[in-house]
């Protein structure tokens, strides 16, 4: 895919020019800008700010759970903490951060000069910060924020203090706004990928990251309307006295569960697919092998999206579902393991007999894959419905999905941030600080979330603010791990901020990676490419010295590369 004839044409002077320009233009990150690269960075930094807030809430929750008694926060406050922790992490960290990364990368990876609808792109982004602030501002309400969990199951979510403005109301409003933003974004991504590919960029020459973004955004497009509809009905029940979900007035609370999970299970794949895409970019680059079984990984991405549409009721195995539903959804849920397995095996085979480099992005990618194994395997266990009847709504589930959302997705996002940092900023980050960050994260994440499996198996129910003293030991370890994860953010922030200001200038292709984004300057010019690139090669052309991926503007690297 790397087009050697055009690579490096820009040369160093060009990159210096754009680097100087970006220094002068740092203010553009705070403006209504239509450049997909600016919007990508805006999404990422906004999401990371919310990630820090959500992380503080997580540490407060873990602080309460150090002791069995409810002795730190009163119970309504505790309930508000975990409700907002979940909501912020999902709707204001994972979704916007993967969207931000996709925003920056997709046009570059397919050889486009921008997204299909730049104005719509900017509008989608600018809906996020107000929605997030609206949600967090609910802490200032006289009766506090929503306290019904991020599912907001009625009728509990309808038990609100008197008055129109309450935490639940603001919660629904802000999630609705974020949902609209996501739907607009999905329209934009799907159109961009289908219509804006450079000449020669056939579907089966697209990097896996683009495949996963396409799959994820198609899911958003098809399924988010279900959540939006469910939330609108909930809002009507809450404010104008309708009875859609009120069991004693003829409504059905289980209907809400279906509408909620009909979106909220596929959405897990909206989050995890880009993470798989990031793994698929990083692992070949640092093993110097082509991605093993590229086509099957690409097809598995779409396959996973299709299968994920048919599994939602596995969240409701204990919800009074009839037997045939339980068995049908057990089957469909376990089928999801097949395309997932294909991907894991492909990454493993790529690393096998390779020439491995363990730079920070690769550490995060391999660490993410290993921890994803645990998250995936325990997912298969829960899919086995009789076992789920025991662990459903226990801490086992909490551990499982944190192994997915933190130990896989967040770790993948970190890996991606390190991998593309030189491209985004034009600077190199500090490798030592990066490795420190990885080890703190890897140790902290396992320390936090593995003990939670154990107390879950033993029957500790999730969302409790006090618990039986027999579970205390593992809870102390989990809490210490959570605080370690809090500390792990510090070297990351220091590294990224410090390197952006003072880091050495990055070459165009520091990793000697394939992919169109590495053929342009770091950071890329406003229009991304000097001239629209023509793609002549399959992706991941590693392992072929004649299609050298070495940055031709980096003389030292050419000398090191050998023949």
């Amino acid at each position: 895919m790397t087009n050697n004839s055009t690579q490096g044409l820009g040369g160093r002077s060009e990159s210096e020019a754009s680097y100087n320009q970006s220094q002068q233009d740092w203010w553009r990150y705070f403006t209504f800008n239509k450049d997909h690269k600016v919007i990508g960075v805006q999404y990422l930094t906004t999401a990371f700010a919310f990630f820090l807030i959500g992380g503080v809430l997580a540490m407060l929750i873990r602080a309460e759970l150090i002791t069995p008694a409810s002795d730190l926060f009163d119970r309504p406050l505790y309930n508000a903490l975990f409700t907002l922790h979940g909501t912020i992490m999902i709707f204001l960290w994972i979704i916007p951060s993967t969207v931000g990364m996709s925003n920056f990368l997709v046009p570059l990876m397919i050889g486009a000069d921008d997204m299909a609808f730049p104005l719509l792109n900017a509008i989608s982004f600018w809906m996020v910060p107000p929605a997030g602030l609206l949600l967090i501002s609910s802490f200032l309400l006289p009766n506090g924020p929503a306290q019904a969990g991020w599912w907001s199951y009625p009728p509990l979510s309808l038990q609100v203090p008197p008055g129109v403005i309450n935490g639940q109301f603001l919660w629904i409003l802000s999630v609705l706004i974020l949902g609209v933003s996501s739907i607009l974004g999905a329209v934009n991504f799907v159109t961009t990928i289908v219509r804006m590919r450079a000449p020669g960029m056939t579907f089966f020459r697209m990097p896996i990251f683009v495949w996963t973004v396409l799959s994820a955004q198609l899911l958003q497009l098809f399924f988010l309307p279900s959540l939006t509809g469910g939330l609108l009905l909930l809002l009507a029940d809450l404010t104008i006295g309708t009875n859609f979900f009120k069991p004693f007035e003829g409504g059905s609370p289980v209907l809400y569960q279906h509408m909620f999970w009909f979106y909220s299970h596929p959405t897990v794949y909206v989050w995890v697919l880009p993470a798989f895409g990031i793994f698929s970019e990083i692992i070949p680059a640092f093993s110097r092998n082509p991605l093993f079984g590229y086509r099957s990984v690409a097809v598995a991405s779409i396959g996973l999206a299709v299968v994920s549409a048919t599994v939602w009721a596995h969240h409701m195995f204990a919800s009074g579902t009839p037997k045939w539903v339980r068995i049908l959804f057990m089957f469909t849920s376990e089928v999801a393991a097949i395309p997932t397995g294909v991907k894991v095996f492909a990454w493993t085979a790529t690393v096998w007999k390779s020439r491995l480099h363990l730079d920070t992005p690769m550490l995060f990618a391999l660490g993410g894959v290993v921890m994803f194994m645990i998250g995936g395997i325990t997912g298969v266990m829960q899919g086995a419905m009789p076992f789920d009847l025991h662990v459903n709504n226990t801490h086992f589930i909490v551990a499982h999905f944190h192994y997915i959302v933190y130990n896989t997705i967040t770790v993948a996002i970190y890996g991606g941030l390190y991998f593309w940092y030189p491209k985004v900023t034009g600077r190199m980050y500090n490798e030592g600080w990066g490795k420190l960050h990885f080890w703190l994260t890897f140790i902290g994440a396992n320390l936090t979330f593995f003990p939670i499996f154990i107390v879950g198996l033993q029957g500790m129910v999730r969302r409790v603010s006090s618990y039986d003293p027999q579970y205390q030991g593992w809870n102390i370890i989990a809490s210490l791990g959570a605080f370690l994860l809090g500390v792990s953010v510090l070297p990351f922030l220091a590294n990224f901020i410090g390197s952006w200001l003072y880091g050495p200038q990055a070459p165009n292709n520091p990793w000697h990676a394939t992919g169109l984004e590495w053929t342009t300057t770091s950071p890329p010019p406003r229009e991304n490419f000097e001239q629209t690139p023509t793609v002549t090669l399959a992706p991941y052309s590693y392992g072929q010295p004649d299609y050298s991926t070495v940055d031709s503007s980096d003389r030292e690297a050419i000398e090191r590369h050998g023949k």
């Binding site: 009766n143 290993v370 076992f387 072929q544």
Partner: protein, 327 residues
Amino acid sequence: MLRILEYILLTIGVAIIVAISYWIGQQAYSWMPVAASTDAKQIDDLFSFLVWMSGIIFLGVVGMIGYSILTCRAPKGDYREGHPMRGNWKIEAAWTITPVLLVLWIVGYSFYIYEKMEVAGPTQLLGDLNVPLGAEPAYAQAPSHNTPAPELIPQTIEVTAKQWVWAFRYPQQNITSNELHLPVNRRAHLVLRSQDVLHGFYVPEFRIKQDIIPNRAIDFQFIPNRVGKYRLQDSQFSGAYFAVMQADVYVDTPEAYAQWLTHAVSQKPIPVSNQAAAEHEQPPKRLFKTNWYTVLPAQSTDVNYASRTLPQASVENPMIVSEESKE
């Protein structure tokens, strides 16, 4: 020759992984709480099997990645390429078919376990969904020549959940209680109801769980098979005092069960308090207090038989507990 050696080593590696995983799978039984129902045995078997299968996949993949990390490192700055192989349809077919078979095996085995549980255990929706309060299942009313002792007739126990207290009613004896007594090795037939929001019936030692949906009566059955005292925990988040919505569950010998029934029948219904109400009245010391709105906990319930393990656990006589909490 080298090829054969490679295959032999690979086979040995796989055998070791399978053996270690099997051993871990056997350990899995001890990670669970005590098994106190017939379903618990089935679910523990299933879990052990799942751990075994998972162990093989996990150790296999992590072993390969670990081996690569140990043996395939390139020196720093040496960006020479690896191999150009982009795939191998045989290998790819193999690793697609393997998970397919594995999934079919897991689903098949889970189905088999579930069927076994169906015979013994939790069939919800077995009876009429809308059994009116106090109605008896037909089989209990059917005249029979060799009627078992009355206390052993499979009887329906009505379980009512409301924020944040459990109430149990034995309609045949007209007993109400705040603790659940079940005879060992007899099928427990519960009818679960909620008066407000979603709740969940969960006793970890029984391994099974059922959500309770307001305005519906959900049949729930299992066979407790180990005498002892257990703890019922609400498993579906139900608001402010969710964590303390618990009740004691006793699995009694037939004699102890009969004794308890006769004792309970002789008691007059009295109001008793519960932990949520007690905590609401007198909040414990906490670092951060908000006084945010909550639904008021159910104040007291009229029961014949009051559990002795209320917050004021030191009090011997349940009557006194109720007098105190009545105010």
